[in-house]
């Protein structure tokens, strides 16, 4: 690990001043991803600004029934919050599907938003990676691609976004609040993560001097009946091959409301808008669920190692919607 300076500001303003004056500085939250990347030499900050002392760890009710989640709320705390569990169960389930209990106790909401891909070639300094070294090429394209994305990919990068939490946030239309010495901004979750295109090194809309302060969840009654289903190579402590965050409201046999987002298959947390459109107003049956999933996956670009993901994603979407529909029937 490259030697670095470490500072721990006492308030948000001091943190923002520090990052504005220190080129090559990085904010440190739980450190569950940044420290790994520093150990591997992928991240090489000159200064680490530890923000864990800042007062950004509350979950507050919003007047409209939504919630405002401080950027430093730990994943395990958020997953256990009764309001999250009641109003946005898919988010609680997504958090609990991620990592291990030890990591969830450390990981923060802000850090989770900035989680970087687990592509093995990105981590390996001996491999070519456009994300790590722009213009270097991509060893993943013809390498082991079991974990790689099929939606939103480019010829420069096929890395999958690894977060579970962000998949739920994408389905819930979360808004990311950020602040810098230049002022405050609100970034819709769909615009927060960027597609790789020719510049896979640019992963988010966050400027280098901006600090994530909170995530807002709008009131969303349909989300009260929602779930997160994660499919992976072992029962725990593995990244998703495919994950599905889904909410469903059925009225008179027809889909009256739906939210659908995918993980493990997208270059960013993937809001499945094509599938949502196909579902809305249509029958809530198995054939319709599969057709909608296939509509979403029609845009997939697969490699030999991840071609199974279109069928897996289709099956997982259909299964998750089926279970939600059955739940709705039951009560």
């Amino acid at each position: 690990m490259k030697p670095f300076a470490y500072v721990k500001p006492a308030d948000v303003e001091a943190a923002l001043r520090a990052v504005a004056t220190e080129p090559g500085a990085k904010f440190l939250g739980g450190g569950t991803n940044l420290v790994d990347l520093m150990r591997e030499g992928v991240e090489r900050p000159d200064t680490v600004i530890d923000v864990t002392g800042l007062p950004l760890d509350a979950v507050d009710d919003l007047p409209d029934g939504g919630l405002r989640i401080g950027a430093l709320v730990r994943n395990s705390v958020l997953a256990a919050d009764p309001r999250i569990r009641a109003r946005y169960p898919m988010l609680s389930q997504a958090l609990l599907a991620g990592a291990s209990p030890q990591l969830r106790n450390m990981a923060t909401v802000g850090g989770n938003l900035l989680q970087r891909t687990r592509c093995a070639y990105f981590y390996d300094a001996a491999a070519a990676c456009n994300k790590r070294e722009p213009g270097a090429g991509c060893d993943a394209l013809d390498g082991f691609t079991r974990g790689h994305a099929v939606l939103g990919v480019s010829g420069s990068c096929i890395a999958a976004h690894p977060s579970d939490m962000c998949v739920a946030l994408a389905a819930l239309d979360a808004v990311v609040e950020v602040r810098s010495v230049r002022g405050d901004r609100r970034i819709p979750i769909g615009e927060f993560h960027l597609l790789p295109g020719d510049t896979p090194q640019n992963e988010t809309a966050l400027a280098p001097d901006e600090l994530i302060t909170a995530v807002e969840l709008p009131a969303l009654p349909v989300a009260a009946r929602s779930r997160y289903r994660k499919v992976r190579d072992r029962a725990s402590y593995a990244f998703a091959l495919v994950s599905v965050a889904a909410a469903l409201e059925v009225r008179d046999g027809a889909v009256a409301g739906v939210r659908l987002a995918l993980g493990g298959v997208g270059a960013k947390p993937w809001r499945a808008r094509a599938a949502e459109e196909a579902l809305l107003g249509g029958a809530a049956d198995e054939a319709a669920f599969r057709r909608a999933a296939e509509a979403e996956l029609a845009a997939a670009t697969v490699r030999p190692g991840n071609a199974f993901k279109t069928a897996l994603a289709t099956a997982t979407i259909a299964a998750t919607l089926r279970e939600l529909a059955r739940e709705e029937d039951a009560g």
Binding site: M1, R118, D124, F144, L312
Partner: protein
């Protein structure tokens, strides 16, 4: 204490052998007191880190170490340009037996695999050493390399046999018999490379004092590490001490001497400092071999009653390391009329493979036991019934007697305990909500090896007993079980026996390998205790004088005949001695003679029956193992707790082989892509169901104490039992491991 009192208070003695006792090393491990190889501090201790080659084959044309040397705290950067030379591996030497590879590290500019160490950084802190190592830049002249097992497989050549195993066998004309068999299966199997992933990454602390060397090393072969270091550094064995009182798991990965051990010693010599080289997990993947990948063909022919008329098993594995006996279980498991076995190998420019828990059998039984299951489907016969119809009375190829064989009993007991009869024999017929439920069985089989073991047993004037043997506590309870044996042999309380292990200054112990450490040491402990009792009897006065050893009982802390006798303390006091010691010296000449003698008479093998229940998600193909039972014949069980721990651990390792583990070697470069525990998927707790382990606990009449061996048999057959259960649940035969969900979609 007088003899009469001892007699008066004597209660029925409970033998210690067989009891499920806690391990003696438990408290030290639970409290963190146990010191592993990387836990030893020395004045001026320096820390080393490896720089790995990033090409598979070629020459280093330039090494830029300037940036590394400029890192604060760096003491030296050793490369082929400046490192002291180690002596090459000798062709014929016992010390060469444990060479991980033949590469003479840092002696030449040659690169033989991606990951081979090409430089070692020595620094004041581990952080400085690792950071500096990341700054060393190498340029190479690359040479063509063979790194893709699948591509090289057609070039396979017959594997060379060795003294213990032949790589081929024939009985009759199996291919002809196969062609005319009324029912047959002919399947091709693929198993990937695997890595051991012991919880303790390899670590070495090396200290030179003049020409004397002390090495703390995580190893499964103390005596051989010493021999190997003596050969490589030109120092007499007596001037080298190797210590390994605790080793954090090995599974074969610490049986050989790999780069880390050698380079720690070399770095200590070059810098004049005590040096610790604790490998990162990545460095373990890059410098320590794992299990070879294989492809296998198993073809079985049978008559309509399921009697095997032909058994064909051929394999391709990697060369190098130890010759993998992929088809060995096919020699002993079934009474086929004709048999054809061949083992072939290909050369690859990768870190050499090495033994990994049940080398050969672990992957060989996957193919054989999957094929037998598939034959049962073709015959529409219960797979246990098919196995029982082909259970041999004598060893099928040699006609020799089995020393012990209880597979019929294992399957019979397992059938009851597991509820096998509740299995609906149709594929895909058992369902629980979204889950397809399947049940499968497979046979476990492993032949233990008995290695030489030298032992001393000392009885002190106070009755305290010390057993000394260079055993390896790799997590198996090595000292715990020898203590139980010695206590029973001498008739003393468990608490008065101490077992010293893990030091090359002790009498040379067996290698912790081949499921043989416990039985090997036990044989010598028995002999030494017997010798000690004879010496004590000779010193004992009345009422024991003149008694034959066979007429005397060792119990209650002394020797007794009928109602009379003497405690050991009394005997020693009477003889004016402060202790008596007996030594048993054992060596490789004895080993070869014993192996040859035993091998002529019997076939030894530990065996078992695995019963597995899986659930397969009907939508996604996710496989979850929901129940497991293993019934084993491992001969006598010394400690039901530690034995079950080893068998259960083997089953967990087998679950990993079956479902999630594989070392990904990039076929373009030969580089291990998933050199970390986040990407190499060993089973986590959530993947492991309750595992029932039952040992038949029937002594083998031909071995000391009736022991066979428990270290490896547990893993054998496990992947096949899973594959067979998946076949039952889904109707799909997956013949390439691991059984990932994409193969079931």
């Amino acid at each position: 204490m007088s003899t009469d009192v001892a007699e008066a208070v004597r209660t029925e003695t409970v033998p210690n052998v067989g009891r499920p006792l806690d391990r003696v090393d438990g408290p030290a491990k639970a409290t963190g007191e146990a010191k592993y190889a990387a836990d030893h501090d020395y004045p001026g201790l320096a820390h080393a880190a490896l720089v790995h080659a990033t090409v598979a084959r070629g020459r280093v044309t330039a090494l830029d170490t300037e940036a590394a040397r400029a890192v604060r705290g760096v003491i030296d950067v050793l490369t082929h340009e400046n490192a002291p030379r180690m002596r090459p591996v000798k062709r014929f030497s016992l010390g060469s037996f444990v060479k991980g590879s033949s590469v003479n590290y840092l002696a030449t500019d040659e690169v033989h695999w991606d990951g081979q160490p090409i430089a070692v950084v020595v620094a004041e802190t581990p952080a400085a050493a690792r950071h500096a190592a990341s700054l060393v830049r190498a340029t190479y002249e690359e040479l063509p390399a063979a790194v893709d097992f699948a591509a090289e497989e057609p070039k396979a050549v017959p594997q060379k046999g060795n003294a213990m195993f032949s790589s081929a066998a024939d009985k009759g004309d199996a291919n002809a018999a196969l062609a005319v068999a009324p029912v047959s299966v002919d399947l091709r199997f693929v198993t990937p490379p695997y890595n051991h992933n012991a919880i303790e990454p390899h670590a070495t602390t090396a200290v030179w004092n003049g020409n004397r060397l002390t090495v703390h090393d995580g190893t499964q072969s103390i005596a051989f590490v010493r021999k190997h270091l003596a050969m490589r550094f030109g120092v007499p064995e007596r001037d080298i001490r190797v210590l390994a009182p605790y080793v954090g798991g090995g599974f074969g990965g610490k049986g050989m001497v790999w780069a880390g051990t050698l380079l720690a010693v070399l770095a200590a010599r070059a810098t004049g400092r005590a040096v610790r080289l604790a490998l990162t997990r990545e460095s373990v993947y890059r410098t320590v071999g794992g299990r070879t990948p294989t492809t296998q063909r198993v073809a079985l022919g049978a008559d309509r009653d399921g009697r095997l008329t032909a058994l064909v098993h051929t394999s391709v594995a990697r060369s190098g390391g130890m010759p993998e006996q992929v088809t060995s279980a096919s020699r002993h498991l079934y009474a086929a009329e004709t048999v054809h076995l061949r083992q072939n190998v290909v050369h690859l420019d990768l870190v050499p493979p090495t033994a990994m828990r049940a080398p050969g059998e672990a992957v060989g039984t996957f193919a054989l036991e999957s094929a037998v299951d598939e034959l049962a489907w073709r015959l529409d016969m219960d797979p246990i019934e098919l196995r029982m119809r082909n259970e041999p009375e004598r060893d099928p190829l040699t006609g020799k007697a089995f020393s012990h064989r209880m597979l019929r009993e294992a399957y019979a007991l397992g059938t009851e305990r597991f509820g096998w009869r509740e299995r609906d024999p149709r594929a895909g017929a058992m369902r629980d909500g979204r889950w397809l439920v399947g049940m499968g069985v497979a046979t476990a089989y492993h032949q233990p090896i008995r290695f030489p073991a030298s032992v001393t047993v000392r009885m002190g004037a106070d009755g305290a007993v010390v057993v000394r043997c260079g055993l390896h506590e790799i997590g198996v309870g090595a000292a715990t079980v020898q203590r139980q044996i010695a206590a029973d042999q001498l008739g003393v309380p468990l608490e008065s026996v101490r077992v010293e292990v893990g030091d090359s200054d002790l009498p040379a112990g067996p290698i912790a390998a081949g499921s043989g450490q416990t039985a090997s040491a036990a044989a010598s402990v028995l002999a030494a205790c017997d010798k000690l009792k004879r010496q004590l009897l000779a010193l004992a006065g009345p009422p024991l004088r003149g008694r034959a050893i066979g007429d005397v009982q060792a119990r209650d802390g002394g020797l007794f005949h009928g109602g009379g006798g003497r405690t050991y303390a009394e005997i020693l006091a009477g003889a004016g001695r402060d202790h008596v010691e007996a030594a048993v010296k054992d060596g490789w000449v004895n080993f070869l003679a014993r192996s040859a003698r035993d091998g002529r008479r019997w076939v030894h093998g530990a065996s078992g029956a695995h019963f597995c229940e899986v659930r397969v998600d009907a939508d996604t193909g996710e496989v979850r193992v929901s129940r497991w039972l293993g019934v084993f014949d491992v001969g006598r069980v010394i400690n039901a707790k530690t034995a079950a721990g080893q068998l259960r651990g083997g089953i967990v390792m087998g679950l990993g082989m079956a479902l999630s583990e594989q070392t990904l070697v990039d076929p373009r470069t030969g580089r291990v892509v998933n050199a970390s525990l986040s990407e190499y998927h060993v089973p986590v707790h959530a993947d492991v169901p309750r595992i029932d382990v039952h040992c038949l606990d029937d002594p083998d009449p031909t071995t000391p104490l009736g022991l066979l061996g428990v270290g490896e048999v547990g893993v054998t057959g496990v992947p096949a039992a899973v594959a067979n259960a998946v076949r039952h649940a889904t109707g799909k035969r997956v013949a390439d491991l691991p059984i990932t969900l994409d193969k079931l979609l």
